[in-house]
């Protein structure tokens, strides 16, 4: 059980009484990038929220271990302190709470007392630069009145500052223009190239393969109707790019029949 990695086994999850995830097995290795692709409604976001501990998602069975420790049943904040990070598809606004205050509080919570204020400031400004973000961002209220692109940049800023062991990026590419997508890619790659982030394992959840052109996946899983129906290398993403999900759907249906 002490095996490293973010390990999902036999995970079954219901939302409001309806089973959405019907037995998921998936491993995110340290320092590696796994992609989870699938059409809308296949259960990708349910997996992300369940791993992070959203109370709306009812676990019917299975387990999720982070470097050997079971995290299902833990409060969301405990999972975060264990090293899990979720980049939200629709991050919540927190009016009245400045970005600076929020990221400082979050960093102190997940890595207590590890950085003196001066070094923390330096880290923040470095990451703002990588993400091509204006330092004026720090004085704004968290996600309050942010554009879609600004919200995703703030998620990436938090990722870069919290330096988690495992990061789940839920549809981070959706709604982004080319520049913002480029900034996301640069940020993730910068983290992966750094000492603090070289062992971070990524689970990139996406509908479209385009983010994988910026952050190449080591392994690609295809999810349909609450199950992983196909797993392959980076070429699987290209296949979806060319042919969409229909062919895989037929293939799976054919396999079952």
């Amino acid at each position: 059980m002490s095996e490293r990695g973010l390990r999902i086994s036999g995970l079954r999850v219901a939302v409001e009484g309806k089973e959405i995830l019907k037995g998921i097995d998936l491993v995110v290795e340290p320092g590696r990038v796994a992609a989870l692709m699938g059409p809308n409604g296949s259960g990708k976001s349910t997996l992300a929220f369940t791993m992070s501990g959203h109370p709306k998602y009812e676990v019917l069975g299975g387990s999720v271990t982070l470097d050997g420790e079971e995290i299902l049943g833990q409060a969301p904040d405990k999972r975060a302190r264990a090293g899990l990070f979720l980049s939200f598809q629709y991050p919540a606004a927190i009016p009245g709470v400045s970005v600076a205050n929020f990221i400082r509080s979050a960093r102190m919570a997940v890595k207590p007392g590890d950085l003196p204020p001066k070094q923390f400031r330096q880290l923040v400004f470095d990451k703002l630069d990588t993400l091509d973000m204006d330092p004026a961002f720090l004085g704004r209220y968290v996600n309050d009145g942010f554009s879609g692109g600004e919200k995703k940049r703030l998620e990436m800023l938090q990722l870069a500052i919290l330096q988690p062991k495992y990061a789940v990026l839920d549809e981070t590419d959706s709604g982004l223009d080319v520049d913002a997508l480029q900034a996301v890619g640069t940020s993730v790659n910068a983290l992966r190239a750094s000492d603090e982030g070289k062992d971070t394992g990524f689970l990139i959840i996406t509908h479209y393969p385009r983010i994988l052109a910026h952050v190449p996946a080591d392994v690609v899983h295809i999810m349909m109707d609450g199950r992983i129906v196909k797993t392959g290398g980076p070429e699987l993403a290209n296949e979806i790019e060319r042919e969409g999900y229909d062919r895989i759907r037929e293939e799976v249906a054919g396999g079952v029949a």
Binding site: P55, A75, D77, A80, A92, I94, P95, Y141, Q158
Partner: protein
């Protein structure tokens, strides 16, 4: 100042007690008797009824024992030419030409309990800023309620033309179930800038009832900013009148009530003439079994054309037993005016809390962040950073 001691002071909010105090040396007998008659004639404000536990009509003032002690104090002495800060007795003697007309306005008499303060306050604090004098540093007033005595702090502020002053009232102390009945009167001359901030942090047994009145002159601006953190019962009745063209009245109200606290906040922004502005922001939080009511009134008089009024109030409930009634009322009797009102009432949002917790912060911390964030737009309106920091830390401490 009358030399009274609590043991010799007659008790009770009665004409006989007032007469006895006057015999003991209180000056301005006629003014006091007139104010007391108004106190007796005016009805107590109606309680909202329903489950509201406090009722001002049933407030027992049979034991009213007026504190003779200097409940108003300056944090530091003020020696700026053109600025006067002194007690009423001194003002009456040395600055009669300014104090007299201000005192005679009798703005406190507009409410029942303001009239009570005017009738019984042994003395008061007079602040006068001469024409064209702009104070760089705020004037800090401390109101310290003393155990076993009722406090009647009475403050009169006169800001001359083109003057500028920031006044910070820090009110605290535990009166062990006694009353603090306060009156503040502000008169701002042409082009004057006045801000008056109140940080109320009385102990959990205190009842406080305050009347604040401001008259805003030509192109002048007055900002009354009020924060209620303490006291068992906190009643604030704040009215600002824009009486000449170009006058701007600002009002900020902030309260955080928990346990069994009650807050009753009434604001009146009156556009007496046209081309005046008013801007009211109220943010209230109630937790546990706390109850609060906010009556936000805007009145634009007939012919006050070109008035511009905004009223924004938001309420946050931290528990299912907490209750906030928000009752805005816009009474507009002129054409060609701008009037905006927006209000929300909500509870803590689970998605917000989940988002914050997903960053490693526990639920209590997440709730504190959201609550302080909710109040921040009101905190941000307090004029000085020192006050804003004080507020954030006092509110943070109360949130646990």
């Amino acid at each position: 100042m009358a030399s009274l001691s609590p043991t010799s002071a007659p008790a009770g909010a009665t004409a006989a007690a007032l007469d006895a105090l006057i015999d003991l040396g209180l000056t301005e007998a006629a003014v006091r008797r007139e104010a007391f008659a108004i106190y007796e004639a005016l009805p107590a404000p109606k309680s909202p009824g329903g489950k509201w536990k406090h009722d001002l009509r049933k407030l027992d003032l049979g034991n009213l024992t007026v504190s003779p002690a200097p409940i108003l104090a300056l944090a530091e002495p003020l020696t700026v030419p053109g600025a006067i800060v002194c007690d009423f007795a001194t003002a009456r003697r040395d600055h009669a030409e300014i104090f007299g007309p201000a005192y005679d306005r009798a703005l406190a008499n507009e409410t029942k309990f303001g009239a009570l303060t005017r009738a019984f306050a042994p003395d008061g604090l007079f602040i006068s800023i001469a024409e064209g004098v702009r104070l760089a540093e705020p004037i800090r007033i401390g109101i310290v309620a003393i155990e076993g005595e009722d406090a009647l702090p009475y403050v009169i502020v006169v800001a001359g033309a083109r003057s500028q002053v920031e006044i910070i009232e820090m009110a605290g102390g535990d009166t062990g179930g006694r009353l603090v009945c306060a009156a503040t009167e502000i008169v701002a001359g042409d082009d004057a800038r006045v801000s008056y901030s109140i940080l109320q942090q009385y102990g959990p047994q205190t009842k406080t009832i305050a009347t604040r009145r401001a008259i805003v002159g030509h192109n002048a601006e007055v900002h009354v900013a009020f924060a209620a953190i303490g006291a068992q019962l906190c009643v604030e009745d704040i009215a600002e009148r824009a009486v000449e063209a170009g006058a701007g009245a600002r009002l900020t109200g902030l309260f955080f009530a928990n346990a069994d606290q009650h807050v009753d906040l009434v604001t009146d922004l009156l556009h007496v003439v046209g081309s005046t502005t008013s801007d009211t922001v109220v943010k209230g939080v109630a937790g546990d079994r706390a109850q609060a009511r906010f009556l936000g009134n805007i009145k634009i008089a007939a012919h006050a054309h070109g008035s511009d009024a905004t009223l924004r109030d938001d309420s946050l409930l931290l528990s299912p037993q907490a209750h906030i009634d928000s009752v805005p009322a816009l009474e507009i009797s002129a054409n060609d005016v701008k009037a905006f009102h927006g209000a929300t009432v909500g509870a803590l949002d689970d998605e917000n809390l989940f988002y914050i917790m997903s960053r490693g912060l526990d639920r209590t911390t997440a709730e504190r962040l959201v609550t302080l964030g909710f109040l921040e737009p009101a905190i941000a309106r307090f004029p000085s950073e020192a006050v804003r920091e004080h507020l954030r830390s006092a509110l943070g401490a109360k949130l646990g």
